[in-house]
């Protein structure tokens, strides 16, 4: 009971971060700030979701695989963010100044 409650709480928290990230992606003014929303909020959201699923995992191996997926995604999204940002900079897109 306690385990599933904790799992639900983590999953909901993860979903909230995803929602915030998506909102940022849609509402932020330029490519750099949007990247910020994507790489930070969504990665944290996925981390919380993975944690929520890990407490429910049947075995240590399954939990390890979930953690591994999160680490891989961190590496991939950090690289993708870097690539998009340096492409934008190469194009001469100036960062937004409110």
């Amino acid at each position: 009971m306690f385990v599933s409650l904790m799992s639900v709480a983590l999953l909901v928290a993860g979903a909230v971060f995803f929602l915030a990230g998506t909102l940022g992606l849609l509402r932020f003014p330029d490519v750099y700030t949007r990247l910020h929303a994507l790489t930070k909020a969504d990665n944290l959201g996925l981390g919380l979701m993975v944690l929520g699923l890990m407490v429910q995992a049947e075995s240590l191996a399954a939990a390890g695989k979930l953690l591994f997926i999160w680490l891989l995604l961190l590496a991939a999204s950090a690289t993708a963010g870097q690539l998009v940002a340096s492409w934008a900079q190469g194009k001469g897109i100036a960062p937004w100044r409110g």
């Binding site: 891989l72 590496a75 991939a76 690289t79 870097q82 690539l83 340096s86 194009k91 001469g92």
Partner: protein
């Protein structure tokens, strides 16, 4: 029965249709390709909802991943000058191209309407046929279930792919090879410039490439009793090849001759050899002798994985080395 799963599935199905419509009708080609990749990813979710985990793996790696990379690479070759000019010019260029595009890109409106009506009639007929077919039927699953013990593997989809319907898989490997021969006969591989790749990308591919090879090996092995197998593993290998290529890695010249070609044909060659060799043991073509199914399937899957990975990467590079 709760209504929530059905609601989720309805949302997924509508998302699919909306993405497909936008991907096919978006005026900007780049946007169209990106929407198409998104369609592949949502489709992967749909396969999970349909309990088809193998297909989901293949769809994400191939339908979204490799196809997306192929489309983006082709798009980059179509618009080579656009990246050099500065932003303003590019925008002007694109609007000019767009206007000519709009005039000549689509069929006239009357013809479009006629085609749409014709297609609606066709879809109504197809829908009726599907409706007629929609009676609960086990299909061939009972037959597969009954003979699974003889197949050499414990997972039905792998049994169908490599034993019961081995013909399909053999010919499919041949189709892959034929496609590559077609691509190779159309062009030679573009020369890779000497510019330094992005340091972050280079670091990521150094990190991921060995990991992807490990995952591919795991997928082949796990295919004997769970979702996985040569196709998924080969797709992961192919994706590793695409990643390495993007970060500027290249095969050494000594390996692009017959060693590369050997790897490319290995899958078809091993499959055909085993399929023919069994005739010597009083078996029909592609029928494994009792007790030999498992090693035969493992050998074929390993060879096929290597070939599928190499062929997919070669298709992405596009052109004879």
């Amino acid at each position: 029965m709760s209504l929530l799963p059905l609601a989720i599935d309805l949302v997924l199905a509508l998302t699919l249709l909306w993405l497909a419509w936008r991907a096919l009708n978006s005026p900007d080609l780049f946007r169209a390709v990106v929407l198409f990749i998104a369609l592949g990813l949502v489709l992967g979710l749909v396969w999970v909802r349909l309990d088809a985990v193998d297909i989901a793996l293949a769809e994400i790696a191939l339908g979204a991943g490799v196809t997306g990379a192929l489309l983006l690479a082709a798009l980059a070759k179509l618009q080579p000058a656009a990246s050099q000019t500065d932003e303003l010019q590019t925008a002007e260029l694109q609007t000019a191209e767009l206007q000519t595009d709009q005039a000549a890109v689509m069929a006239p409106i009357a013809l479009r309407l006629f085609i749409a009506l014709l297609l609606l009639a066709f879809l109504a007929g197809l829908g009726f046929a599907v409706w007629q077919l929609w009676v609960p039927a086990p299909g061939l699953s009972n037959l597969v279930e009954a003979r699974l013990d003889e197949s050499g593997v414990a997972y039905p989809v792998t049994a169908v792919l490599l034993n019961f319907r081995g013909y399909d898989t053999l010919l499919e490997l041949a189709v892959l090879l034929l496609a590559l021969i077609g691509v190779w006969s159309l062009s030679t591989a573009p020369h890779l410039g000497d510019e330094e790749p992005e340091p972050a990308l280079a670091a990521l591919s150094r990190l991921l490439a060995p990991l992807m090879i490990l995952v591919a090996a795991y997928l082949v092995w796990v295919g004997a009793y769970a979702p996985g197998g040569a196709f998924q593993a080969g797709s992961v290998l192919g994706a590793a090849g695409v990643l390495l290529r993007l970060s500027g890695w290249r095969l050494s010249l000594s390996a692009t001759g017959w060693p590369l070609r050997l790897v490319l044909v290995l899958g078809v060659a091993v499959f055909a050899f085993i399929g023919l060799a069994v005739i010597g043991f009083d078996q029909p073509l592609l029928g494994y002798p009792p007790g030999w199914a498992k090693p035969a399937i493992l050998a074929i899957e390993l060879a096929a994985t290597l070939s599928i990975g190499a062929i997919l990467a070669a298709l992405f590079i596009g052109g004879r080395p």
